[in-house]
Structure formats: C-alpha cells, structure tokens
Amino acid sequence: MKPRFSVGDSVRVRNLHPEGHTRLTNYVRGKVGVVSIVNAQAWVLPDTRAHNAGENVQPVYNVAFSASEVWGPQAEENVTVNVDLMEDYLDPAERA
C-alpha cells in the first residue's frame, strides 16, 4: 500500500467525533503538523475493526505538532508533541 503522505508533508488532523471507538486522541483534532515518520508497516483501522466494519489496513504516520499549534499562547516553549495517526485521520494541509 502506497502511503499518501511523505516525511515533511504538512497535514491537518480531521475534526472527527465518531460515536464509537477511535484512536484519534482529541487534543490534536483540527491541528496542523508535519509528518516525521512514515511507518513501513500498515495497521488495521481501530475505528472500523472495533465495530466489525472491516479492517481497513492503512499506513500509520508519526506527526510532529509544535506545542503552540496544539495549546496556543499558553503552550510551553521548545516543545514538540509527536503523535501516531492513521492515514484516515489526516488531510493534506498548506505548509504553515
């Protein structure tokens, strides 16, 4: 499976609020980050597998967010939050 994103791409986390299970941690929803790792291995999408709605095997990325993007002006300085996210959680974004 060819990953849609490459290292260095800017991505925006989709603002999803599913009723059921998800592994999309809510503090990065809607935030813009930069892909820092494209994992060689693909994994099942927990959101669908948890509800017997298919495995939807897909790439998993590590996305680096600056703390100020996530927490705004109250963020600590010189902090990066690196979060593992499924491809279906991400949209392309313009580089900030």
């Binding site: 592994r23 503090y27 790792i37 994992n39 927490w71 600590e76 990066t80």
Partner: protein, 207 residues
C-alpha cells in the same frame, strides 16, 4: 461489630480489579481460559520481564555504534539480536536523547508501553495526571518529577496511541568511559528509558 480485615480489603478494591476478576472467573467457568495459565503469564511479567532487559539493549547501543545504528533504524529487529521480543510491541521506535533534544513517552489514550523491553508500566504511567499533563506542560511536569531541563533543550513528547511503541535511548552518563557492557547496563534506570529521568554522572551515582 467485629472488624474483618479481609472483607474490608475486598470492599476497598478498585472497580477495575473487581471487574477484571469477574471477567477472569467467567472466562474460566466457560472454559475459555485456565486460571493457572493466567497466573503463569502474570508471574512471567512480574519476575522475568522488566526494565533490566531494556537496560541491556541500551548498554549494547552505547558500546556498539553499529548496533545503535540498527536499533535506531528498526528497534524490534535489533532487540531480536539480543533475544529480546514478545507481545504488546509490534513495532519499536527507539528515540535518542542528545544534549539538545530530550525524548519522553506517554500514551494519552490508555497505557501503551513497550512490554518486551520495560516490562509492565508503573502505576503513575497509567494515571490521568501523567497522561494529560505530559502533553500539556511536559517541562513543568518533568521538573516536578525531579528532572529540570534547561529551556534550551527541546522536549519531544511521543504519544504512542497506535500500535507503535517507543523506547528512549538515554545519554550515556559522564564518567562511564571505562565501563564494560554489564556495568553500563547497571546504570540504566527504567525512568530514563521512559524519559522522565536522565542518568547522573558515574562518580555521583556511586558516591
């Protein structure tokens, strides 16, 4: 009224423990699992698997630059060279601390943790305070946990909410140049491999 200590303990058990025991006893009753097998697994993780394994991996990485290179490329494959592996880690990224960058690991959704190298997570790792505050104010939280990082050091918080697990490769302590791999492994702490501590200089450690 007489005070029965064991009943009291039973009543004060956290709900998670009560629920887990209930599920276990039901699964045993219908023959899905055997209690002896569950006990054996718990005993294995309590006695055989723990942070000493990760310490061995770190000491090898400090001693052998080629191994370190392979470890940073594919953590699990390099660990397998040392006979290290097991469940709860399908992929392992090893992240290296440097004088400029400090890495620290959390799972904001639950308590994902690299079992094969660190064993079972400590209670504080699973607490909501650690899981929420490490992403929100890592420098402040680490300072409260005894690790004061200079403002110039960039903190990378790794939130391991997917199937990938993370292990921090701590900086080799000052004054450890002459030590062999076994002596180096003795210096490595669990907390330094989670990233909530660094390792003191050797002279200070043995003082």
């Amino acid at each position: 009224m007489p005070h029965d200590h064991s009943d009291d303990d039973e009543l004060n058990k956290p709900w998670q423990a009560v629920r887990t025991e209930a599920i276990e006893s039901l699964l045993a009753e219908i023959g899905v699992i055997e209690s002896e097998r569950v006990d054996a697994i718990v005993q294995h993780y309590e006695e055989n698997v723990g942070p000493k394994t990760g310490a061995r991996v770190v000491a090898r990485a400090w001693s052998d630059p080629d191994f370190k290179e392979r470890l940073l490329q594919d953590g699990l494959a390099a660990c397998a060279e040392l006979g290290v592996g097991g469940p709860e880690t399908e992929y392992l990224h090893v992240v290296e601390n440097t004088p400029e960058v400090h890495n620290v690991v959390v799972c904001t959704l639950c308590s994902c943790y690299p079992w094969p190298v660190l064993g079972l997570p400590p209670a504080w790792y699973k607490s909501s305070a650690y899981r929420t505050r490490l992403v929100r104010e890592p420098r402040k939280l680490l300072a409260e946990m005894g690790l004061d990082l200079p403002q110039s050091v960039r903190i990378h918080v790794w939130d391991s909410i997917s199937e990938i697990r993370y292990l921090v490769l701590p900086q080799r302590p000052a004054g450890s140049d002459g030590l062999d791999e076994a002596a180096l492994a003795d210096l490595v702490t669990r907390d330094s491999m989670i990233g909530v501590a660094t390792l003191p200089p050797v002279a200070e450690a043995s003082a």
